[in-house]
Each structure stands twice: as C-alpha cells, then as structure tokens.
Symmetry: D2
Subunit: 243 residues, 4 copies
C-alpha cells in the first residue's frame, strides 16, 4: 500500500485572532478549515503549523516529515525568520511539494523560490471572480467545471511578476476589468510548487467546495515522487577518453 | 475504488513476422512484451491491437474503451488509414493518453498531433545510449536512477523537429557524438502525450526493466483526468452588458 | 545593410466584397489596410495575396520570397486547397514566420501546424475587450501600454484548444465574463508563429494604432534568422566507437 | 536611428592575475577579450567592470546606463556584496538583460534570480564538447552551424538544478558521457536572462569565433524593449460595478 501524503498546513494566523468578523468566518483559523477538509481524504494525513509557534512550527523534524506544505500569510511576511525560509526553500528543492495560497504571493518563501518580485495589482471591493480552466487535462483540473465562480473576492491583476509557469491551469476574470494567472505550476529542484490565487481572510472562500477540491488536487500533484537522488560536484568520466 | 486504467498497446507488428532474429527477441511481438509487463500492475488493464487487424484493431468501441494508447510503428506508417489517424487524434484531444515509442516519431498519428515533420538524425551501429533525467520531480521519473544506460541502441540525434515539449524529462547521450530529447511531455486538447525514444526491433530494449518502468509511469501520467467538459461555439454573456 | 523583411498579407477577401457595411470600413480589404500600415516601415516590404487569385496568390515563387506571412480568413477556410496548406506548413518549418489573425484560428494552416482543434467560445455583441500584457520584456510588447482596450469586439473565450504557447504575451478580458490567451508565440520547425486575436470584419480594429503596432512587432519577431541548415537522416558517427 | 545597446562586461578577474598560464590566454582578462569582440559591432557599445573596483564597478550610475550585463565569476562568488546582488536583480526585473557565462551558474546573482541551487556535475580533463542547436529559429542561433565543437572543455553535466528554461537553444554532448542544457533563455520581470555554458579560465574558449558569435546574439536578444511600464498596488476598477 502506498504511504499517505503528509501535509502541513502553515498559517500566519493573525487576522483571525485580531478581527472579530474574520474570526466568525474561520473560528479556528484558515489552516484548520483547510486541514479539516484534507483530513477526510484516505490518502492524506494533515498537521498544522503557525507563525507564533517556536520556529514557526517548522522544526527540522516537522519539515522532514512533510511531503506537501501549504502556505498562507499576509500581514506578517517579514516576521518569518530567514533561516526558516532557507530551510523551506531547500526542502522544496529536495522534493517537498509547496502550495502557495493567495496573499502568500508576497511571502519570503515564494519570492525566494521564484527569484522575482511577485508583485501584482489588487483591489478589495468584494467583486466577482471567475477562474477559467485553460489546461483541462491537468490533474489539478480534476472534478473542476469549466470555471469556478467566486461571488466576492479581492481582485489580483496582471502584470503578476512571476516566471512563466511550467503550466498555467487557471486564468481569472474579474468584474472590474482585470485578468490574472490564478493557478500556476512550477518545478523547482526535485519539488513542485502550485500557486493558487483564491482566498482572503474576509471572505469564506476556504469553505467553498470547488476551491477546496482544487487544493486537494494540488496536494496530490505536488506530492514527491521517488525520483533519482541527484548527485553533484566532481565526477569521474563514464567513458574512456583517449586523446 | 478508482477504476483501472485501460491501456491498448498498438503495434505495427511486421518486423517480428518478417525477420527471424527479431522474432527471437519478441516471439509474440513487441506489443505483447509491453502488455505482459503492464498487465501485472493492479491499477492497469491491457489489450493489444495491430495494423493488420480490421480497422487496425482500433474500432470505435476499442478507442472509446481506451484510456491510454501506446503506439509502435516503423516500416508501415503509410499503411495506417487516414480516418483512423483522425479518430485517434480526436480521442487524444478528448482526453485519451498517448505514449509514442521510438520510431513512431514518424507515425501519422504523432506528426498530425505535433504539426511538425518530427524528423531527426539516426544511425544504427549498436552504440551506447544514456538517458539522463533532467526533471527529477516529474512522476515519469519515479523509480528512475540518475540515468538509464542502454548498451546497444539505434542513435537518434537532434535537431528533433518537434514543438518545444511542455516538460522534457530525459535527454539522451550517444557514444557517437549526439544528444536527443528522449522523454517529452505534451498536453494536447484534454489529452496528454509522452514521446519516449528507447526501443528498436533488433535490440531487447522492451525487456529492460528501467525502460519498462518508464512506460508504466508514462501510462499513469497520461491517464485521463475528470476535468471540465469543454463547450465551444456561440455562448451567452455571463454578465449583464449595458452600453 | 540588413535585407528588408518581405511580408505577404494574405486575406480571404470575401466579407469586404459581399457586405456593404464591411466595405465601408475596409474599402480595399483588410489585407490592404494592414499592408499600408506595414509598408511605411523602412525595414519591411509588403505584398498581398487573396483566396480568389490563382493558387490563392501563394505560388511557389511568392512563398519562396516571403519571410513572414500574415493570414486572415473566416467564412471560406474550407476553400483553401490542401496542397497550398501543406506548402505553407513546410515553408514555416523551413523558417518562414506566420502571423495568424483573429478568425484564422480555424484556418487549415493554423490547425495543421497546431495539431489541435483550435476551437473556442465566441459571441458577437460588440462588447469591450482589454488585452493585458503578461510578458512585458517580450519584443512583441514593444511600445505597448499595460493593456490595449478595444471598445467593440467579438468575444473569444477559453478554453482555446491550442498547445500551450512557448510564450503568452497577451491575455484578454471581456466585458461579458470571459478570458482568452490573445497573443501566443510558438516555435515550429525553424519558423515562428504568432497568433493575435483582435480583428473582425465588422469593427475597424485594423485601423487602431495599438493593434497595428503589435502586428508590426510580430512581423519583426517572426522574421527568419540565419540559423543552422538542419540535416536529417542517416549520419556517420562523429566519434570513433570501439566496442 | 536606434540607440546603441550599452553592454557592461563584468568579470571577477582573479584567475588571470593569479595564474601565469591563464594570463597568457587572457592577458587583459576575459572581460576585455569579450569586450573587444563586442566593441566592433556598430549597434553595441561596451564598458567593463570587475570585482575589485569600488562597488565591484557596478555603481548605481553604471547599472542605470547598462542595457545588458555580462557576468563571469568563479572563485570569488562569495565576495560579491549582497546589496550589489539585490541591485542587479532589480535592474533585471526592470528590464536589463543578463548574460551569465559558464561558472557564473553559482554566482549569487544567478542563484537569486533562479531561486534554485544551480548545482551541476563537473569534471576537468580537457574533454571534447559539442553544443547542438535544438531551436534553430531562435535569434541566438543566428549564424550558428548545427553544432559548435569545443576541443577542450571542462565538463558540466545534468542534473543542472535550474527552473525549466522558457527556451532551450543548446544542449551539450560531452566525451565522457554526460549531457547539459548549455544555452537557456529565461524571462524574469521585464528582463531577459541567457545562461551560456562555454568558457573556462584555462581554455581559450572566449577566442573561439562561434562562441563569441553566440554572445553577440545573446546581447541583442537580451536587450531591453520599450514595453509597458508596469504599475502595482491598489488600483481603481476600470468598469462600473453594480451589485
């Protein structure tokens, strides 16, 4: 039997503690809303970690026991310690999957792995968003209709300063006039990264089944494979070389 | 329980009947060597089809019941009927996976789906080949070492006239001085295509476990997902438009 | 001094002859509107060709003397002879640039080179379109603002059934709720292809300076380079091989 | 008349001062060998900068006046100041081109922009290398034969830990049994990056005309375009939104 995918849902977990309206939507934090959803899947086991735990909850043991890390952050990106960022980066390069949600586009972890500013346009007037599937044969589109509609969303607009994704699965339409690459796959090292736009602390987006389904799909896609253990450095020739 | 992946292994099946040496290597044809290997997997069920069967063994019923089609051809590409080629092309666009092996780079099916000539350099002196993994986190690299060595292979060399692959998993080194993109992933329509270079009628390459393992991985990667049923043509606006 | 880029603007040229309203917008046909614009550039020389000329105006001599072919078609795709389609396909693979405009997404030439159905959603209610630049460092974005607005356009919506472009330069937003990959770059053989969405017979889109500027940029990007003359077939080893 | 492309060739410039054999090959440093070659082009103007100059020769004024930066480093990557690395990164994101040569794969500048380790296999036994063109229609392949042969080279082998390039122009074959993606194009922000493998302090590779030709092509490809000035942050809706 195949081993379960070990997921750690990481959340900054500040908005939910500071704002009563947000706490009503996510009484146990966004991480627990997502973890609860994933926890019912037979092939997934979940834990959570948050910014204010020691080492942000991401000790060496936790990272070593994580197959896919989900990351949500917004107001406290700069409080994430640089050495934790480096550890996460290298775990991804070793093979750990990473699912980056919404405002985590500006997290140190994502910016470091992309090498770009990851800036974008934004607006918060609770407008309508539609995420159109542009790669219908991709495993992250499993069980997804032609588009997912989110009735009230924060807008994110292009130009989104990321490297061209290896595969773009979703492109969003916003009522106010913008578009956005909303579901972006990247190979980095032996790891896989999925950026997924939806989600905001003031809307109940992580209670919407279509959005949660995409997160489940992304976890399965990003899970490590048993690929080659890559070696580096000075190597002997495989062939005889006669000069 | 998830349904099994229904694989059809298609073989031109001429060399094995015409040449005694080749018949010794593949007494029941290359298709059966591959089918036997796949048949032991719990999540796969296999059938075969060959050129000389009616409709080349690819009736509408067979195609409709095929999740992933594996294709081997060499000396009789032109005998494949155009209407069968069109049916295979549209089944791929609908979601069927396609694994294209070795000399099938010049099959009508592959050329039609690529839109290019699919020409390459070649040489047959039984030289050494090494397939290096360049995307170690890809599911097709599962269980693969840093490189696969094939002791005696026909050489295929760049320039390989294909569209840039969505992902290149393997690049081959050849003893005589050439390189080749040997494992190439393409999304086309709702389907996925994997071109895999190894295999030749005069070498026992489809008995080599590393090569067979890649074919198994490719079948799982190329299997259809339950993505959106795409609709085309004239559509009503989703939004009210006031001029 | 560098040679001029020799452009042939091909137009089906039927709508303009059949419909008085369209004739008012393009009295000499869309091809001449585009050709006039390109003709003022010091590094470009232009000719035109149309469906109803012998060999559709695309004789061997014309094709051999064309560096970049611009293609517009809509109502008469099926009248384009298959042997001309094949000639155009192979000229592209040899290095000729191809700029495919608007409804030419369903031209035989484009479908053959893409290998997919090239289908899409559409609607004609003169709605607003915005083409957002998503790759601002690309030469086709030269002189382009953050977005190009087209006040009245036919809508084209995803899923657009094309292979993933090598580079996506523009993504469109439509008032009615859809998005579309509107500026798509493809390498095919030694040639380069740019699909550009804007343009419709009933709107004066090929008089809009931002749209014409993109076509000029595309011509320069798609112009052939003096790359290697690729050889195919059986080749001698470059290295001594001792077994 | 179009403005000239302003190139700055940056060199660590240590090997040439420390080792007599290397000084014989490049008496004025590798940067000057490259700069002399580029300086004869009518559309290029060149300056140089080296590690031991104040601010590594990369003051704000120099960076602001640089369209394309060429980077060579090897033994002193860690001596490059982090604030200079950040400045170079952001100039690239703003539009400056970057050509990264050989051992600069481990430079802080390249690693920061890639987000990966940029590690690889290597060996120094003066073996033969062949760089095969795999994208013959790309402007960087202009004037290049089917392959460039380098008689004595340091080997670099896959797995090369970089993001999948937007376009791979060259793949190298090495006598000892390895392959390598040797010419890799990346868009990052509004800038373009070309990694080019050849070059080593102990071989006269930057005197080889085919290698120098590729560097010239790369400079022209990487030169900034006059694309949109991208704006970020909070924006007003472009459309009226009535709920």
């Amino acid at each position: 039997m195949k081993d379960k995918i070990r997921v750690t849902v990481w959340n900054e977990y500040r908005h939910e503690k500071l704002n009563e309206e947000i706490a009503k939507i996510y009484p146990e934090g966004m991480h627990n809303a997502i973890a609860k959803h994933l926890g019912v899947e037979a092939d997934i086991e979940v834990r959570t970690a948050t910014l204010d735990e020691p080492e942000h909850g991401l000790t060496d043991d936790v990272l070593a026991a994580t197959d896919v890390l989900i990351w949500w952050g917004h107001m406290a990106h700069l409080e994430v310690e640089d050495d934790i960022v480096t550890k996460v980066q290298f775990r991804v390069l070793e093979g750990m999957g990473l699912v980056v949600l919404h405002s985590a586009h500006l997290s140190k972890v994502f910016r470091t792995l992309m090498g770009t500013s990851c800036m974008l346009k934004w607006r918060e007037i609770a407008e309508k968003e539609r995420l159109w599937v542009v790669e219908p044969g991709h495993p992250i589109a499993d069980g997804v209709p032609e588009y997912i509609e989110i009735p009230h969303a924060e807008m994110y607009g292009e130009r989104f300063d990321i490297p061209q994704p290896d595969t773009t699965v979703f492109i969003s339409w916003f009522q106010g006039g913008e578009v956005f690459r909303s579901g972006c796959c990247f190979h980095r090292g032996s790891g896989k990264i999925f950026y997924f736009r939806p989600g905001h602390e003031t809307y109940p987006i992580y209670h919407q089944p279509e959005v949660l389904n995409v997160i489940t799909n992304a976890v399965r896609w990003a899970a490590p494979v048993d690929g080659p253990e890559v070696t580096w450095d000075n190597v002997q020739p495989l062939e005889d070389i006669q000069e």
